[in-house]
């Protein structure tokens, strides 16, 4: 308390926050109802009252360096009880979006991801990257109405080193491996920045600033445990319904991630090529379970949200619905392709569906840094920091 903080209200920042859906922040008169009803806020550093004040003054710096905004799960209890109708839950959601933007390069992508008018451009980008690779690997424009030409072309093979890969696989590998590398690169960089901010914000003494390895070794596992168990989410009062579908969705992603990994190994490396029989093949089972969980979770979230909006405990921005529907469509197209081989009446359209699917998957991948999907990474970071901070608090 001894040191004096130089402050000045930032009108521009306030306006930006308002544009990102934080406009209600100004209504707050700091009664701190939110901080006391919040089921997730820790007693020693409760939120979101203070974050609301930062927002009102446009103190971006303070907001971006504050893990609290990521620890918030938008339960909506604060919003429900706020006497000024300042909707702290929604304000923090918009602050997270803002933080994401600040942390990443190529901000135009963030803009495209969080505005309806950006949607066509996103599709365009996806196609511009996917189609050339497709034409390249399929040696010209294939006949999309004939699945035996696209995507399941038995003739087209590529021998790379000891591998023997069908065109389809080569195409996907080129597109998604490079995309993955790009995403991992920028996210690692962003997380590094964020972590540094936290350390500085909490003035962690050098002695306690461990390296990445130690941090992950000590705190990643407990954090992941907690995230998978959704313990924080389940504390939510007003919007507790979200815990279960969100958990299922998370599981779905984990399972599908493993599935994709296995497929990559079995098919690309060991050459056991798909399509496999969906009824007999164990990997297929895994994939289908993942897919079903995904649909269950996403539909649960969409319907739940609509209900919550009616009850006014939650407000749904474009960024919210965009991601929900994107995930839903990815799931649906995925299944359509698979079922095409059982219900043959639309089997001939598989080619088109396949293109749609990979375009959607492409957009979903890119959404990890640039949409609210980023919480997958940043919230995890914040939770890890939370564990880390609590731990060293004891030591200091």
């Amino acid at each position: 308390m001894g040191n004096i903080e130089k402050l000045s209200g930032n009108l521009e920042a306030v306006k930006t926050i308002c544009n990102y859906g934080g406009d209600t922040a100004k209504k707050c008169y700091q009664c701190a109802t939110c901080s006391s009803v919040c089921p997730l806020a820790p007693d020693e550093a409760p939120f979101p009252r203070k974050q609301m004040l930062y927002a009102q003054w446009g103190l971006q710096g303070k907001l971006l360096n504050d893990p609290s905004i990521w620890l918030c799960h938008q339960c909506g209890d604060c919003t429900k009880y706020c006497p000024r109708d300042a909707r702290p839950g929604d304000v923090l959601a918009s602050l997270r979006l803002l933080a994401t933007r600040e942390l990443l390069p190529f901000k135009f992508l963030h803009t495209l991801y969080n505005n309806l008018w950006g949607l066509p451009f996103l599709l365009l980008i996806a196609l511009l990257i996917i189609l050339p690779v497709l034409f390249l690997t399929f040696q010209g424009i294939p006949n999309f109405s004939d699945p035996t030409v696209f995507p399941y072309n038995p003739e087209l093979h590529y021998k790379i080193l000891f591998l023997d890969l069908p065109a389809r696989v080569v195409m996907n590998d080129i597109v998604f491996l490079s995309l993955a590398i790009f995403i991992v690169a920028i996210m690692v960089n962003a997380v590094g920045k964020l972590w540094q901010n936290y350390l500085d914000y909490y003035q962690i003494p050098q002695a306690y600033r461990y390296g990445a390895i130690t941090i992950l070794k000590n705190y990643l596992i407990p954090a992941l445990k907690e995230i998978l168990a959704h313990t924080r989410f389940e504390k939510c009062g007003a919007n507790s319904w979200r815990a279960n579908p969100h958990k299922m969705l998370l599981f779905a992603f984990v399972i599908l991630f493993i599935t994709t990994g296995t497929v990559f190994f079995l098919a690309d490396v060991l050459g056991m090529h798909t399509p496999w029989n969906p009824f007999t093949h164990p990997v297929k089972w895994m994939g289908n379970i993942g897919g079903i969980l995904l649909l269950y979770g996403i539909i649960g979230l969409i319907t739940g949200r609509n209900r919550a909006v009616l009850e006014n405990s939650l407000k749904t921005s474009y960024s919210d619905s965009f991601l929900l529907w994107l995930i839903l469509l990815v799931g649906l197209t995925g299944f359509l392709i698979e079922l095409g081989r059982i219900f043959t009446f639309y089997y001939n359209y598989t080619g088109y569906i396949y293109v749609a699917h990979i375009v959607l998957v492409f957009m979903l991948f890119l959404a990890i840094p640039y949409s609210k999907f980023s919480h997958l990474v940043f919230r995890t970071t914040a939770v890890i920091f939370d564990f880390y901070y609590k731990d060293i608090q004891k030591k200091i």
Binding site: Q30, S36, C82
Partner: protein, 411 residues
């Protein structure tokens, strides 16, 4: 000098003031009061802030001024149904509920002695019961009993009828509607306490020891349910540690969006009651802003020096009950330290806000604003807490001021 009488709706302190001030201008005045007695809210208070003097003192003077006036008449248990006509010539329909007691009543109390049926005493905000035949309170005006027929026990009617030597009980009385022709109307229907059960997270009604500020006022009153002692409802013990929840319902978009003006001062007064009763006791006041305008600041200082008060800037948003002790755990963020605290207290007092009595009603000829406060229009002048949230002194300024406006319409 004046052609038509003045109608004053509401017989609380504002209404009484307006009526007398007008009557002493030699105008004819009619008071229409909904309850069985004049006096309104102030008759329920033990003391006024900031002087800590009993409101009954002012009522006594006002009653005496009224009694000396032949030009002032009072209808109790009466409600205005509709207002029509024009300024200077209003037609006002008034519904009068039966009291079942006529002017023969000498208030000797023989009837109540033999009456077995009981009813909840709304004057004590449910903290006590009266007999089915009862005197509203010691400063009742008119000083006459009231019969609540529904509360009578079997056989009561015969018992009370034969107990009354003066033929004062008339169970056959019917509701009647009269029409008054008046030149102007002063609307002084005052306020009602906001319904605390609507603020679910405070547990009022669920937790025995969460009480309202007006209940504290009644307990502190020598004519109240506990003969002037502030006690925990759960076990009748004197609370040692009490939490006061400011803005309970007020300044809240989910309840009353405006500030109720008096709650901070009332709470400070209550901390002084506690200090007077139990010098060791501690008061925790959870507030957003302490609002003691003008000279009331002195009262704020007085409370700080005479009572043992801890002020916490942060609104209470969570109250839990300890099953065993019936103590309460009150949670808020202390916004100055930035920490979330939970305090154990013996009793919680909700500083409930005021809602206009007419809120939610539709009375043809009367315009209400979004909150239910009465809006002024030609010849119909709202005063006191029917106009906006106010303290007693300012209410009486509006009430007195309204008279000079009203008189212009009576000529």
């Amino acid at each position: 000098m004046f052609k038509k009488p003045l109608l004053v709706v509401g017989g609380g302190i504002s209404g009484i003031t307006a009526a007398i001030e007008a009557a002493e201008m030699e105008a004819d005045v009619i008071i229409v009061e909904s309850s069985p007695t004049l006096g309104g809210r102030v008759a329920q208070l033990r003391y006024y802030f900031p002087k800590l003097c009993p409101p009954t003192c002012g009522l006594e003077i006002n009653y005496k001024r009224m009694k000396a006036r032949g030009n002032l008449s009072v209808y109790t248990m009466a409600d205005v149904v509709s207002v029509s006509g024009t300024p200077g010539d209003f037609k006002v329909k008034v519904k009068i509920r039966p009291r079942y007691i006529n002017e023969n009543c000498t208030a000797c109390g023989e009837c109540a002695k033999v009456c077995e049926g009981e009813r909840v005493n709304e004057v004590d905000f449910g903290l006590s019961k009266t007999k089915a035949i009862y005197l509203p309170h010691p400063m009742a005006f008119p000083y006459r009993y009231v019969l609540d027929k529904d509360a009578l026990a079997p056989g009561d009617l015969d018992r009370i009828m034969s107990a009354c030597k003066y033929g004062a009980i008339n169970p056959e009385m019917k509701e009647e509607e009269i029409e008054l022709n008046v030149g102007a109307i002063i609307w002084a229907t005052g306020w009602k306490l906001y319904d605390a059960t609507k603020i679910d997270y405070y547990g009022f009604g669920r937790f025995a020891n969460v009480v309202s500020n007006m209940q504290v006022e009644r307990m502190a009153s020598p004519f109240g349910p506990t003969n002037g002692q502030i006690l925990r409802p759960s076990d009748g013990a004197k609370p040692k540690r009490v939490a006061f929840v400011q803005c309970a319902g007020s300044r809240d978009e989910n309840h009353l969006p405006y500030c109720s003006y008096i709650c901070c001062l009332a709470t400070l007064k209550h901390t002084l009651y506690l200090a007077e009763q139990e010098p060791e006791s501690e008061s925790l006041v959870f507030y957003i802003d302490i609002r003691t305008p003008g000279r009331y600041e002195k009262f704020f200082k007085r409370a700080q020096s005479e009572a043992n008060i801890k002020f916490i800037k942060g609104k209470v948003a969570k109250i839990e009950e300890d099953e065993a002790t019936k103590d309460l755990l009150v949670t808020a963020e202390d916004t100055i330290s930035g920490k979330r605290i939970t305090e154990r207290v013996n009793m919680v007092v909700l500083a409930l806000g005021m809602q206009p009595s007419v809120a939610g009603q539709t009375i043809p000829g009367l315009i209400l604003d979004a909150h239910g406060f009465v809006m002024e229009k030609e010849g119909i002048i709202p005063v006191g807490c029917a106009k906006k949230p106010l303290d007693v002194m300012t209410s009486n300024e509006t009430a007195t001021g309204a008279v000079i406006q009203a008189l212009a319409y009576l000529r």
